[in-house]
Amino acid sequence: MKVAMVGWEYPPFKTGGLAVHCYELTHALARRGVEVDFYMPRTESNVAPKGDGVKIIPVGYARYGAYVTKNAYGLDFFASVHAFNNACAEELAKRGRGNDYCVVHHHDWMTAFAAMKGKYSLGLPMVSTFHSTEYDRSGMFPNGYIRDIEQKAMVNADRVITVSNYMKGQLKEKFGVDEGKIRVIYNAVRTDEFKQSWDVKHGKEKIVLFLGRLAEQKAPAQFLYAAKRVLEKERHVRFVVAGTGDMMGYLISLSVSLGISPHVTFIGYLPDEQKESVYAKSDVYVMGSVSEPFGITALEAMASGTPVIVSKTSGASEVSPHRLVVDFWDVNGLAERIVALLRYKVLRDTLAHNEYEDAKGMTWDKVADQTIGVYNEIRK
């Protein structure tokens, strides 16, 4: 089986989680004997897969990250996305005639046009994976141009893969996608890439971690309001806020006006190599997002054996029963669960070990198997 896959980034070139996803997925597919031609914008980084089975085909050129904040969506950006898609479609049409592709598969909106053109020029079945949509990234004010591209891709795709049932609901409700062609495939995590909480030393002060973009969607303010309530009950706690974003200044002054600033530490953007130990050293991980298509950070915390509290409006809340769940707006509910995790060691330990076992089962090989299952439904 040979697949034409269109993506936007691939390690070491990455601006978000998509690069890692594409890297792991293509390699897992290759291990299953599926050949993948991976089309992506030419970059200055030396993008290379490991071993056989995956071939990178650089086309056009794009210098922008797809998931940077809205301000960065300048005219240049859209022009460069468009240029890439045109170049990619041409390349795809050219190579497609010599190759026996059985499906064209693309990820998110930036690559949708190339896949649609491939579908019609080569007569290939098309698979769209949506890791998020414009609604998740921009909340109440979606960029209409991007939203339209997403809509077109969903209409033209023969199968739409998305990362959670929560997202499936969004695709049905906001884009009117026919339920029968949506397939849910959860993300995976490599537990071997993380340290586990039982292997690292924990200080006297307990740590409650927030890790994510400092934007409304991730509900960092609710995290601080909850911190205030927790501190009414428990004293030796540190609230660590990792990540950067538009709200940084606001959050710092909020922690001051709530009178909890001595207990809050802002550590900014975390490089990967520090992330693994920050998860492991934390006693509680909070992902209280307003809307989270999946929430890979919750899975990473699970892989670290750090108990997680996630919002109901997140895909990650579906993947294991061994987590605590709150409504994103329920500050007291969040605080209560943080306090419980801080107070009751047996609760922390039970959640940690059970969620870790579940995380171990969420492998890229499983993602690949499910993806092949989708290919088989529609392949030529």
Binding site: P321, V325, E336, V339, V346, T350, N354
Partner: protein
């Protein structure tokens, strides 16, 4: 003659409130602070209308029609009786009417449906058993000589304790882990006991009614009274012990499944066989010798696939709650405060720990069905928060 011995378990837990650490105001009364009477009342009312009243009135009618030949038994927990008195007193009246027929036996158990038989110190267990006997005697003039521990918990030690308390019989689960190749349809002596006789549940025939009655995947569906009576007639032992939750009738198996019609036809079908007759547990024990001995060093129960204590004490969260609760005994007694003692005992309802079970296989579904909590973790947090608050109150009292 082979005795058909019916015993119905009648229990309602006293459910807990969602206890908030950040509530604006908390009631002074500990009962109101921890227990959710609105929910208790609503559920009690629903089960009363679907099960207790219709089933009682049907059984009363059947007892009348069969002139003493149809005999049954119940185990009514103290937490059930208390709720009945407060929420639906007519339920007590209808059990009273059943008691008056002389064909109904009431089994003894722990008043609070507790796991106190697993406490290190058995004082609490003995007190709860006495409380329960007194209550049964004062309500129904009951004087049964058979003991049924919470959730059919059973071990050599528990049987000896029941014997010391003056009981002639004790109920247990007729599971292969205890019986091996032997049939549950005989009376057994218990290792280390002098005279107490064990009545073991025939779980297959019991579950045919309580669990499989409406199961369309079951090749025997639909189960008729005629067919069931034939199965009973084919069992060669001294007694067939059919023990099940009373809520089977109308609540777990809805009226629409035909469960009441099945029950209504059953005495007639069973009594068509000359060698079958209905008896209550005390009558079975008094009429029959033991046919062998069982040895149960570790407690068994009638719950889950394992038939052990793991439904309540299987994970470390459950054990931590249990130990914390047990650890309060001395302090609770020292307060000599009846409300504190009562609340501590209500917190012993085994159901609270049942909700914290994390066993993820088929049994998990049953725990989930009964649990008012989203997850065992939520159940643990709520129970522990209540226990911590209660401990503070006990220490300050």
């Amino acid at each position: 003659m082979t005795a058909v011995c019916f015993y119905f378990q009648v229990h309602q837990p006293v459910r807990l409130k969602r206890f908030s650490l950040f509530a604006d105001s908390i009631p002074d009364s500990l009962y109101e602070r921890y227990f959710d009477d609105a929910t208790n009342k609503a559920i009690f009312g629903k089960v009363t209308d679907k099960c207790y009243l219709p089933a009682n009135s049907l059984l009363l009618k059947l007892i009348g029609e069969n002139e003493g030949r149809f005999r049954i038994s119940y185990s009514l927990t103290g937490s059930f009786l208390e709720q009945a008195k407060r929420f639906r007193p007519e339920v007590i009246d209808s059990f009273h009417a059943l008691a008056e027929t002389g064909c109904v036996e009431f089994l003894n158990e722990t008043y609070y449906h507790s796991l106190s038989s697993l406490f290190e110190d058995k004082t609490e267990f003995v007190e709860q058993v006495r409380m329960h006997s007194q209550e049964l005697h004062s309500l129904f003039k009951a004087s049964g000589k058979v003991f049924r521990n919470t959730e059919a918990l059973f071990s050599n030690d528990m049987a000896r304790l029941a014997e010391d308390l003056g009981f002639d019989g004790i109920v247990g689960e007729g599971h292969e882990s205890v019986l091996g190749w032997r049939s549950p349809d005989y009376l057994y002596g218990v290792k280390g006991c002098a005279r107490i006789k064990a009545l073991l549940r025939n779980y297959k025939l019991s579950d045919d009614v309580s669990y499989r009655f409406s199961a369309r995947w079951w090749p025997e569906w639909p189960l008729t009274a005629e067919k069931y009576a034939k199965w009973l007639a084919g069992a060669p032992g001294q007694c067939i012990n059919l023990f099940m939750d009373y809520e089977t009738f109308g609540e777990h198996q809805w009226e629409e499944t035909g469960i009441f019609s099945f029950l209504a036809a059953l005495p007639r079908e069973v009594l068509k066989y000359q060698h079958l007759g209905f008896m209550t547990p005390t009558e079975v024990v008094q009429d029959n010798p033991v046919m062998g001995e069982i040895d149960v060093p570790n407690p068994i129960s009638w719950a889950d696939m394992e038939r052990d204590v793991s439904a309540w004490l299987g994970n470390s969260m459950q054990r931590e709650c249990f130990h914390a609760l047990q650890g309060l005994e001395l302090k609770v007694r020292e307060t000599r405060d009846p409300e504190i003692l009562h609340v501590w005992r209500l917190l012993q309802n085994s159901d609270h720990l049942y909700y914290l079970c994390t066993k993820s296989w088929a049994d998990g579904d049953v725990h989930k069905y009964f649990s008012p909590f989203q997850s065992p973790y939520e159940g643990f947090i709520n129970y522990m928060n209540i226990l911590q608050d209660f401990r503070k109150e006990v220490e300050e009292a």
